[in-house]
């Protein structure tokens, strides 16, 4: 039912969104790698004044097994205030939760009891296949005129192309395939946009056959995973331009466009360079109205290591790749967080000048060799590393979880990746520090691994804005 006043979690501009009140709850995707128990949405208490702060305070099991929950998103966000398709009286209350392996999409209602979201709709894989021609739904974004769901695979036995399915805002039915002209685009991963420039950007990972059973060494060394960005006309839904990073830069994944809708730049993280195992962050940008370009702005080198300490997949190299698997940009576009899942490091950069990032902070936790413990449990070595990273709207709090993707977890952390979520406090002047009171881990997650975090009321990678 529509509201009389706009949903209070919608903000016209990012400048106003940074004034939003702190989140009280966080939602986590939790999945069972063995596919014996159902996946779940776990709810964490993020209110420091609560006596259950940092604990799992809610849990919703899904009705099936083997979904492999991964990313998810809100049904509506600040883009509902956009002037060309205004509908500010919808509520931010539903989580749209795809199963990356099953291709099912769940809709959970958080309104009645925010700690026990209720499943209100299940879209079967056939729906997505029939109406959009896709499978393996991945990232969810609330758009001004519908819910965008990027998907990695094709349907009806086709491995690709992957692309974007559009869901109806209110009924959550699959409205169809978003692309009218996909040009040379075949591989898919993330998708986000510059609303002020009617531009959509997509990145590339691989098709289901390239990823579902783990990272394929021959494909990686053969430079077959994605290495390009695609720019699209958001209104006409047509491919405009493919920008190749160079085929040594394998897997440009998470896209973080500037939140300021008048700006036309953004950051993308590259998992690994096959030349030296380094990871990198690239900036996409353009001169007024001209072609899009990319510039590498951060290089993170691999760290030499004793092969005896490495998993088989890395032993031939004698080094730990940083494996930048997620990045996140604060709502004010000033700070970029980078997860190095291999080396177990979360890095903080001042990107006030996007062409010249300045490293302002770093925290080690987990890691293939380091296994750095959390200060709350200094004797407990941690596997996995900082992976999904989410930032509060005011930029003061950063939440991190440790699983990448079931089969890939097993390759890089063969002794078990474990399950943990941590929170860091960010100093506005630069610097980050782990919050010792916030360390749900292990059995707290009931045998599941934890992936994306979404914050109640919105976060840095949920909302987009039409006003500067």
């Amino acid at each position: 039912m529509a509201l009389w006043k706009p949903d209070p979690s919608f903000y016209p501009s990012p400048r106003q969104a940074v004034e939003a009140p702190p989140e009280k709850l966080a939602y986590l995707a939790a999945f069972d790698r063995s596919a014996e128990k159902p996946d779940a949405i776990a709810v964490l208490d993020t209110d420091p004044d609560s006596d259950r702060y940092g604990q799992v305070v809610g849990w919703t099991d899904l009705p099936y097994t083997g979904d492999e929950l991964h990313h998810f998103g809100w049904n509506a966000c600040s883009s509902a205030l956009c002037p060309y398709a205004p509908h500010p009286h919808v509520e931010r209350r539903y989580l749209v939760v795809p199963g990356l392996r099953s291709s099912r999409i769940y809709v959970l209602d958080t309104k009645a009891d925010p700690r026990q979201p209720e499943i209100v709709k299940v879209l079967e894989a056939e729906e997505l296949a029939k109406h959009a021609g896709y499978s393996r739904p991945h990232t969810v974004h609330c758009g001004p005129e519908g819910i965008y769901v990027s998907a990695l695979g094709g349907a009806n036995g086709d491995d690709g192309p992957g692309g974007i399915a559009l869901l109806d805002h209110t009924s959550f039915e699959v409205r169809g395939q978003w692309e009218i002209d996909r040009g040379p685009q075949y591989l898919a991963y993330d998708a986000w946009w510059h609303l002020g420039h009617d531009t959509l950007v997509t990145s590339e990972w691989g098709t289901p056959s390239m990823i579902e059973d783990g990272l394929v060494g021959e494909l990686l060394l053969g430079r077959k995973y994605g290495h390009a960005l695609h720019f699209w006309d958001l209104r006409k839904r047509r491919h405009l331009q493919r920008v190749d990073l160079g085929d040594q830069y394998q897997m440009p994944l998470e896209l973080r466009p500037a939140h300021d809708p008048t700006k036309d730049y953004g950051f993308v993280g590259v998992v690994v360079s096959v030349e030296d195992l380094s990871a990198s962050i690239w900036l996409w940008h353009r001169d007024k109205g001209k072609e899009w370009q990319v510039t590498k702005v951060i290089d993170i080198p691999a760290e030499p290591a004793d092969p005896a300490l490495l998993p088989p997949i890395l032993q031939p190299f004698g080094a730990v790749p940083p494996l930048v698997t997620d990045i996140d940009l604060t709502v004010d576009d000033k700070t970029l967080y980078v997860s190095a899942w291999g080396t177990g490091e979360l890095l903080q950069y001042d990107v006030s000048d996007p062409f010249k990032p300045v490293k302002t902070g770093s925290v080690r936790i987990g890691g293939i060799v380091g296994r750095t413990p959390h200060p709350a449990a200094p004797d407990q070595p941690l596997r996995g590393g900082p992976q999904m990273v989410e930032i509060s709207r005011d930029g003061r709090r950063v939440y991190v979880t440790n699983s990448l993707y079931g089969s890939w977890d097993d390759q890089f952390y063969p002794e078990g990746v474990g399950a943990w979520a941590v929170k860091l406090d960010a100093d506005p002047a630069g610097g980050i520090a782990l919050d010792e009171r916030f360390f749900p881990n292990g059995d707290d997650f009931r045998g599941r691994r934890v992936h994306q975090v979404r914050l109640q009321g919105g976060d840095a990678s949920s909302d987009s804005y039409c006003y500067p």
């Binding site: 002037p83 398709a85 809708p261 006003y467």
Partner: protein
């Protein structure tokens, strides 16, 4: 058309102008966008330059918005005029009223919005955006009770083509009065929001006009039919 009818047309124009979905919000967004762009490129010049340019961009958005709205209203006003000249006013009123009630109910229940629009529209695209926005909101239909209330322009359906021509002129007049009021209010609201109160106001003052609007349509339809039946 009597004096109160003209007044009512203008009043409804003001009501439409107030609705953020009818265009003033878009004008504000265009102004803000222009200001940011000027801020970026114009830092070498004086800080005062971007503001007038942005206000000019905001004001430039108003004529296309008005044109689209007028076109949408004119369709209804023209149809009423033509039908009135060949049919009994009462029939037009009852038929039109029924359409209104149905449309109002549809508006109250439906939550669709169209998908092709974006932030960077040309003037022509802005005209069609405004036309579609006004049409799907039933802006013209809301004028029905006023349009069918008075005596028919050329004394009923006896004079055929001449009467139709005259009623078209009345329709044009009605559209003009309505649109001038609409765009004056929309422009004033856009300027006040842009220059004085700021976008923050959206978070608190943007009441669900779509719902008010839908009920207004249903009410107008019922009133039209009731008046026609009892007169």
């Amino acid at each position: 058309m009597t004096g109160w009818q003209w007044l009512a047309l203008a009043g409804l124009g003001a009501f439409h102008g107030l609705n953020p979905g009818m265009g003033w919000l878009f004008a504000v967004a265009i102004g803000l966008q222009e200001r940011s762009l000027s801020d970026d490129s114009g830092s070498a010049t004086s800080g005062a330059a971007p503001r007038p340019r942005a206000v000019a961009a905001l004001l430039r958005a108003l004529p296309p918005i008005a044109a689209g709205h007028a076109a949408s209203v004119l369709v209804v006003a023209g149809l009423v005029g033509v039908f009135q000249s060949v049919l009994a006013t009462r029939l037009v009123a009852i038929g039109g009223g029924a359409v209104l009630v149905g449309f109002g109910l549809w508006r109250a229940l439906s939550q669709r919005h169209f998908r092709w629009a974006g932030m960077r529209l040309s003037a022509a695209q802005l005209v069609s955006w405004s036309f579609l926005m006004s049409s799907v909101h039933g802006a013209g239909l809301m004028l029905l009770p006023v349009l069918v209330a008075g005596p028919t322009p050329a004394g009923g359906h006896h004079h055929g083509a001449a009467a139709a021509g005259a009623s078209l002129w009345t329709g044009l007049g009605a559209t003009t009065v309505h649109t001038v009021a609409m765009v004056a209010v929309a422009g004033a609201v856009a300027l006040v929001v842009y220059e004085v109160v700021g976008l923050r106001i959206l978070r608190t003052a943007w009441v669900n006009l779509d719902r008010v609007w839908a009920y207004a349509l249903v009410g107008a339809g019922v009133a039209t039919i009731a008046t026609a039946v009892t007169s």
